[in-house]
């Protein structure tokens, strides 16, 4: 099976390890992986801020970058959901909307791809530690991927997973919201950090780098010694 990696701008720039783990995970299940180098950002920061026409320029670049791919897989529920929105964003340009539909149809979030397409529920990884999982909003509510991460994490050997109180509450990231409404965002992520603290977990696991950077940054600011990990890092741990 040929899989094109959609690595997302945050993973590419800040956490390349997440990308590496994604590659290794997919290869472990026999996927032939490639990385279309002309990919950029999914366009979400502009689109969600109301700059639709500005976002469209980037969207078209992404469509072109993945046009030849069989499957597109990305380690981010939020960015993958943005790709699913492309046909709607490009509705006024039928030809582009059609190309967007094709891309949206073959794009998957990493854990969704593993569970639904590869039909794997146990990736055979070992990770010793106590962790809590934050189900990010766009992954669960908008993309509808609720079970896949949980199924995969439950099968990780050695992982002691503790439920996060009020886990369904947003961490306060929200893209530009974290900057534009910085005060409210700070209170939201503080409440999240307190809940993470209550679990007494050593690790915070998430499926979206944006949310992890937000929560991880606040945990560090608070002096809370909780390490944050992307789910790909846990699933690829041996």
């Amino acid at each position: 099976m040929k899989v094109s990696l959609f690595i997302t701008c945050l993973c590419d720039t800040f956490t390349p390890d997440v990308g590496k783990d994604t590659v290794e995970l997919l290869e472990r299940f026999g996927c032939e992986v490639d990385f279309p180098a002309r990919q950029t950002c999914c366009g979400q920061p502009a689109y969600n801020s109301g700059y639709k026409s500005e976002s469209i320029k980037g969207l078209k670049q992404m469509i072109k970058a993945f046009e030849q791919s069989e499957y597109v897989v990305g380690p981010s529920g939020s960015c993958v959901h943005m790709i699913k929105e492309y046909p709607k964003v490009l509705a006024d340009e039928p030809e582009w909307a059609e190309r967007a539909r094709k891309l949206a149809g073959k794009t998957y979030e990493l854990t969704q791809f593993i569970v639904e397409v590869l039909n794997v529920k146990d990736v055979g990884s070992t990770f010793t530690g106590t962790a809590t999982y934050h189900p990010s909003c766009h992954m669960t509510r908008l993309l509808g991927v609720k079970d896949a991460p949980r199924i995969l994490l439950e099968n990780v050997e050695g992982l002691n997973l503790i439920d996060l109180p009020l886990k369904e509450d947003c961490c306060g990231f929200g893209g530009t919201f974290a900057v534009k409404n910085s005060l409210i965002s700070g209170e939201m992520v503080q409440e999240k950090a307190e809940h993470i603290g209550e679990t007494q977990a050593d690790y915070l696991i998430g499926g979206d780098m944006g949310c992890l950077m937000n929560m991880g940054g606040r945990l560090r600011r608070n002096g809370q010694e909780v390490k944050f990990l992307h789910i790909a890092q846990v699933l690829n741990a041996q």
């Binding site: 950029t40 950002c41 766009h138 209170e187 940054g217």
Partner: protein
């Protein structure tokens, strides 16, 4: 009062909300109760998603045929001895009601909670024409005594606790009892009883009007609406033009959704249906009944991409689910309609000028959309508002516009994108310490005021991948 409350800027209102730890505790506690109640009620029903679909269908069918149902409603109300007045604006509605009060030489008006009368500022208008107006919903009564606007659609005084309420009663009414909620409620009941008996006119809102019968229905837990609708001889019901269902069967669905989504109740205490005037052989009901159907900007929403905002059944499930509301409270929205539905509805009814910050007061986490019992895509409406603010209203700053134009160029030009991610680490080096930035420059400031920012990695994923490919090639 009108939709807009207060004159403070968005920033000041947010500061006020965030620094009110007392209100925040009350709000997060209530949210917890409402949320778990809603989830439990939905679970008990078993087929919540089917109910939501049915609710959405009823609401969208009604909106698509609103002219038909409004016509049917007004005919039915008139057949039953009532008078219908279509008010295009808040002023028209107020003038009409003032006129009735004048004709009746009314001195006292009792009201049963109504958001739309808040929206049009009816109390002030009636007071101007010499009437004393008494809110009879406990929460509204407390707020009226305290001259405070509502902060929630269903529980307007959510931001106050029993100690504050006791203080208000002491200061404004000479109350001497304790802060025991039962005692406070008993005191309010005793005070209000006199007002019900003395009132010349009863004013109610309208949860839903039933088009086929011309009935105005009210969903309450306190029974105050029954007093308002059965004691005074003159009744005036004020409704937003969208608060209508075609049939009693439809009413059953939306009321079931309303009580469950609002606070997790299977049933409400009272559903009052007011159908026309008193007939000769009847013992109660008004001698004179008026239905005021308020447009006040609603028809502008019909037929637009925001039409589903009019589906709202005012259950406040979105407000109870919203993590932003949780921290800032209702007054921060500067509108009598707070929370996600407020952020969608307020700019539609009252324009963007005073409310352009509201669509951004959301992380687009979609908890609101998920909670809405009639499936209004609230977070999508917020994005659309942002587009309008940027593209049509041109209300954003030049700096932001420039930044987004830069973003467009960056995201559409792979070479520029690659170069910038390569340069990121070096560019941010002056601010980086131990692989983190604690005090970032320019647009990063908002981020680093609240949390640390990681330094860009030494090696990007794409560099690693290219080298890996090269290795495997040789």
């Amino acid at each position: 009062m009108s939709i807009k409350i207060g004159q403070k800027s968005y920033g000041d209102r947010i500061q006020d909300g965030l620094s009110n730890s007392f209100m925040r505790k009350a709000v997060s506690g209530a949210q917890g109760r409402f949320r778990s109640g809603r989830l439990k009620a939905a679970e008990e029903l078993g087929d919540w998603e089917d109910w939501r679909t049915l609710g959405e269908e009823i609401r969208s069918h009604t909106m698509e045929n609103l002219d038909y149902y409004l016509h049917q409603l007004s005919e039915q109300v008139e057949n039953r001895g009532g008078t219908v007045f279509f008010a295009k604006t808040a002023e028209e509605a107020n003038e009409y009601i003032q006129e009735i009060a004048k004709k009746k030489q009314a001195k006292k008006v009792v009201k049963s909670k109504s958001m739309v009368t808040e929206e049009i500022g009816l109390n002030k208008a009636l007071e101007k024409s010499g009437c004393e107006v008494v809110e009879s919903d406990l929460g509204e009564w407390i707020l009226q005594l305290d001259e405070d606007p509502p902060s929630h659609i269903v529980t307007p005084a959510l931001h106050k606790n029993k100690e504050q309420i006791r203080e208000t009663f002491m200061k404004k009414k000479g109350y001497t009892g304790s802060d025991d909620p039962v005692e406070l409620a008993a005191y309010a009941r005793e005070q209000l009883r006199q007002d019900f008996l003395e009132a010349d006119i009863g004013v109610t809102g309208c949860n839903f009007a039933v088009a086929e019968s011309g009935a105005i229905t009210l969903v309450t837990n306190e029974g105050n609406a029954r007093m308002v609708t059965s004691l005074p001889d003159t009744q005036i019901s004020v409704m937003g033009m969208e608060r209508i269902v075609p049939t009693w069967e439809d009413l059953e669905v939306v009321v079931s959704l309303l009580t469950r989504a609002a606070v997790g109740q299977k049933l409400t205490s009272y559903i009052t249906a007011l159908t026309g005037t008193r007939l000769e052989d009847e013992v109660d009901g008004p001698e004179d009944f008026h239905l005021v159907i308020v447009d006040n900007g609603r028809s502008k929403i019909l037929g637009t991409e925001f039409q589903s905002a009019l589906h709202c059944i005012r259950c406040a499930a979105c407000i109870n689910a919203c993590p932003v509301y949780r921290h800032v409270g209702g007054h921060s929205y500067g509108s009598i309609y707070p929370g996600p539905i407020g952020a969608v509805l307020t700019p539609l009814l009252d324009g963007y000028e005073d409310h352009k910050d509201l669509p951004y007061a959301s992380t687009l986490c979609a908890a609101c959309t998920e909670a809405c019992p009639v499936k209004i895509p609230l977070h999508e409406h917020l994005i659309r508002h942002r587009e309008i603010i940027v593209e049509r209203e041109k209300m954003t700053t030049k700096a932001e516009k420039m930044m987004m134009m830069g973003f467009a160029k960056w995201a559409s030009t792979p070479a520029a994108y690659k170069l910038s991610t390569k340069m990121a680490r070096t560019t941010l080096k002056p601010w980086t310490k131990d692989e983190y930035i604690e005090k970032g420059p320019g647009p990063m400031k908002g981020w680093t005021e609240q949390r640390d920012f990681p330094a860009p990695s030494k090696e990007r994923f794409r560099d690693w991948y290219r080298q890996r490919e090269q290795r495997s090639d040789h």
